[in-house]
Subunit: 362 residues, 4 copies
């Protein structure tokens, strides 16, 4: 339970960090979609460890194999199975973890829940689990392209260092121009230096990712529980290390009065109804209003640090966890494609759900 | 689609603001739970309009009728239907809305999605919809009491005015001592004055609700998509006016280093493993760790204000929306029991999901 | 759990036989459907007890009240709540049942499962529960009419007495011309006499209902688990007293060779591909093929009989159940609209699921 | 959509007949179950083609690879991914099918639904799809063994030739003693001769499988829609070639009066309440009553025959389908483990659903 996401466009993922591999089954993808397998691999490559000094040095090719659901480049409407084999699994790095619960990791809670866990690499609790999401999300993005939807995420803050980015204009190419995935180049350099410093200190930093979805037509979202922002919030909070999420004005909006906060409607030059401001973040009453959908996502500093930490073992006895293995001093650059993937999965699902609703007239 | 919430402990709500009534069906409540119907009514009374000058003056008794699933004070294990009739439905106050889209309301998006809407009172998009959630959540709270779980929410910020509240100690009785539902009495008075001022100005304010769940055992939550914080975030973001949600350290946590943020494990005096700090907000890897679960929820200022606002009609023609009817200058006091209800629904569902997992040994 | 049916067009029912009432919430009905409330009532009247001497003499008006989701005769796209109050609840008739488990009823199994049950009238296990299904199914039928789908069920066998009916031509009006709901008039008379005899004997009879769906386009059904026949079979077997279900050739088909059984394709006069025979019963590989969908449903003889029966009480002690109260000597006439309702719910759901699949081309 | 089955113990399958492979993800299996991988392979071997002259001669090793969710022989509580590679994929045998719709196959309906299909081997519509079900069902059977549940299916009829088998005593070992999987040895020989004759004639035969589940405790099943027999019926009707299903007395029960059909309760020697007959087939009101659960499942004669058949091509033009490739003259022997697997999946799911319901007392 808990390893599927979505109602009509639905993924089910499986796989442990140091087991045979990671996989995903995409059920509900419409048939006859021209599927670009290279584009799936591109997203996996953006998520992969070892891309730069900023992130984990684990060596994983993360080559995706399509097992089903696609023929001659077209989707069949049947489930699309995808598999990514694990390669660089260093079980021995994790010997100590068997004894010492890593602070702010899921070692203790997995033991509490399941009474067993795959210790090496954190097992299913490893962020490596997200590879399946990214592969599934890459397909969702190709479906959404048919609807004219584009999704761009970027690193907007690292340890309080803030970028200035125009969400109406930002393109993914600009995001990928540097290792930190922040399109504000001078700020990106400061961020990179901050991450480097954390890495040298054996410490880690957190930050904020912003994501914008443009081209979503007015009308997607299913009140009252499956509001678009509700499903997006769940998608974001299901990611490792996420501790907060905002849509539109978010927490800052609580400081405004209603007369300041309200988004006034007007008729745009193209005749479509728009809003003069977008504090609603593209969603009103749980339904997209045609404006860009905007979100901010808070990532805590990576729990794995290269410092000795006090903790306990499974019996509750005090012990010290000595640093070992590899770590990401800042997960945000690798989280950018993961955020985009999850957003795409939510939108693709809601596109299908909305489509289901039309009444024929016989 | 979209009107059910939960997997095993599952509610389905129905009803428009100015239709015959609001209702909820609770499916999955275990049998033989001694159900306190008065306690359900108490929660509805806490949510009801007209409690004080701070909130809408609509007159609604909000008396709940149990239609099924309960016999002689005990649940039967069958679905519990509940109905709350609408009484004070002033359709005529809403004549203008038929023509003018209210800014930052769901009038436009409902039209875009459904091509039709119940104009009076916002129909299904009205916060009145949450009555069904509160009735269902009240049952969930009674189930959770059997697990030793208590849930307390309170108004922690109004328009930037911040309370100081100890989430380890706060009780619901303290919250309900004033109209704003902030247990920090002096700050509550300042908040009340701020809301009064907004009301006199025909304006509105937003703020932040905090909620804490104590007594949740380690082990609830279903990785990787139905993580406890993910389902809680969805529950919160499905509420009207919510624009942001945090678990534990939230956005503030992004400013810390990993070495500062990590929650160190230790053996508590009672022999149970605990953490010395609680930046994780009671959840690690999507699973409760036995510490209090903490969240902050951002509510935007009420969209309904008593001021003229520029907008368009359904044809996109410019018009001015003149203020009319009743409004909540600040929704937060009434949102407190709604937040508690939604949290309870998530936890009750996860309690059942976790319970399903045991292996018998024949 | 277990009180909802359908994925996109989804009903949730509630209510006990002798509680305040029975209800249903229909979620997922498309908006702007012109809803004929009288037609809903007509279906409930066809299911109602007391229609003729053949069925239970319980007096129930079964008047439906629409609680939500409809405005000025049009669906809103929001959940449609409907309520049917119970009137003739004779609790005292059921005193003995508290002590003696009725043979082939659900008294014992409800106790085994829930440890509690609403004894009067069988509570939730009563066939009275199906009123909510019929109300929901009536809406589904109105939606399906927009697709050009018609559904007709009839009593085809009673206690081995078999009718001859052409499923290509049968209309609902012909079914309703007699109390037994068998359109083969001479055979119907024999059936009626057989039921009368059972009634006089204090006994009961079973039989077979056939149902045909015409106008279903090729393409509905979701392999591999939600095949159209699979969902139809589940719908039928979820009805009280049903012990068997067939699609197309059913059990008789097992006696044929493949060369006899195969349905050969040909181009029909209207240019559409059809089959020369219909042993497939309108479904191939889980997907409708455009031919009429045909099913046969076996109903056991009513468990309630007016004879003394050996049984045990809740402690397992031997006792004799004396006959009391009212009973249906043959449930089939009243089951006809229930079968139609369940078939409609399955088809409406699959219509929406199929519709969700189209790819836009931007 | 449609490729997952179950609510809490849930499988998702993928794979085409002649694609890279077939797979299944089992989500919801409890942790710490000692998993016997050999036993999974045994079930796959029982389903495999090429076991005897009676079935298809396709050469497939059907070796299962566990991709996740298991460590050192124990389940982790995380999803169990399993993969079976295809080996003997003779695409060229299927050239004609591209042009001619095979009678009573899913070629036409897949085209009608998806507008595309994997022609070779029937793609996803091939019974080869059931390999994933068998692997998942094998795990479900190991979980059910912990509950003391055993499941045995056998071929009870072939082309009208009927076996005599005592469902209270039958063991799986007796079933597997001959190629037709009928434990009534003399009748089995007649059946085998009948299948041989069909094979020589280039024709095919159908029949009936019976299945019994012993040891299911009273109390499993979720009224009113997810009744145990309803979910079992869906499971059976989702299998290729199934056209009918019965629980307990089935269609034969419609010929009995209520006084003959009712199962009288009594206290068994072990003090447990039982029934003197079992026309209910182990289920009353949708809930197991502790008696053996019995079902009969009708399989049509295999649609693939080695004879020329009139049909049309995708444009509706008349053509003749010439026989080619391999075929099963009788699918029933291979369907036995598939039926057992599907029954196990339903029961495992209901075991967990029932377990979720207990109320703790704090």
């Amino acid at each position: 339970m808990g390893n599927s996401f979505g109602t009509l466009f639905r993924i089910t993922t499986f796989g442990e960090s140091h087991g045979p591999g990671l996989g995903v089954v995409v059920d509900g993808c419409p048939p006859r979609l021209a599927l670009d397998v290279v584009a799936i691999q591109v997203e996996l490559d953006r998520r992969r460890p070892g891309q730069s000094r900023l992130v984990s040095q684990r060596k994983e090719g993360d080559q995706v194999e399509i097992l089903s659901g696609v023929l001659d480049g077209l989707t069949l409407g049947t489930p699309i199975g995808m598999l990514i084999r694990n390669q660089d699994a260093r079980g021995k790095d994790y010997d100590d973890i068997a004894r010492a619960y890593r602070p702010s990791h899921a070692d203790y809670t997995y033991d509490a829940k399941y009474g067993i866990r795959a210790i090496a690499g954190g097992g299913r609790a490893s962020a490596r689990e997200t590879a399946g999401r990214v592969a599934g999300g890459a397909i969702a993005q190709q479906l959404l392209a048919q609807h004219g939807v584009t999704i761009v995420a970027w690193v907007d803050e690292v340890a309080g260092i803030k970028a200035t980015v125009d969400d109406a204009m930002i393109e993914r190419a600009a995001v990928d121009t540097n290792d930190i995935r922040c399109p504000d180049t001078p700020v990106a350099q400061t961020m990179i230096e901050r991450v480097e410093r954390a890495r040298k200190d054996g410490d880690s930093v957190g930050g904020v990712i912003r994501v914008v979805e443009r081209g979503v037509p007015a009308g997607w979202g299913e009140p009252v529980f499956d509001k678009l922002e509700a499903d997006l919030a769940k998608a974001m909070m299901s990611l490792p290390a996420v501790k907060g999420v905002e849509n539109g004005s978010g927490f800052a909006g609580t400081l405004m009065s209603g007369s300041e906060h309200n988004d006034l409607f007007y008729k745009r030059a193209d005749g479509v109804i728009g809003t003069r401001s977008n504090r609603s973040g593209g969603i009103q009453g749980g339904i997209s209003n045609g404006e860009p959908i905007t979100m901010r996502i808070a990532f805590k500093p990576t729990a794995t640090i290269m410092r000795a930490q006090d903790t306990v073992d499974a019996d509750g006895n005090p012990t010290v966890l000595e640093p070992k293995g590899r770590h990401d001093p800042c997960v945000l650059p690798r989280a950018v494609p993961i955020v985009e993937a999850m957003v795409a999965l939510v939108l693709a699902d809601h596109a299908l759900r909305h489509q289901a609703r039309a009444i024929p007239h016989h």
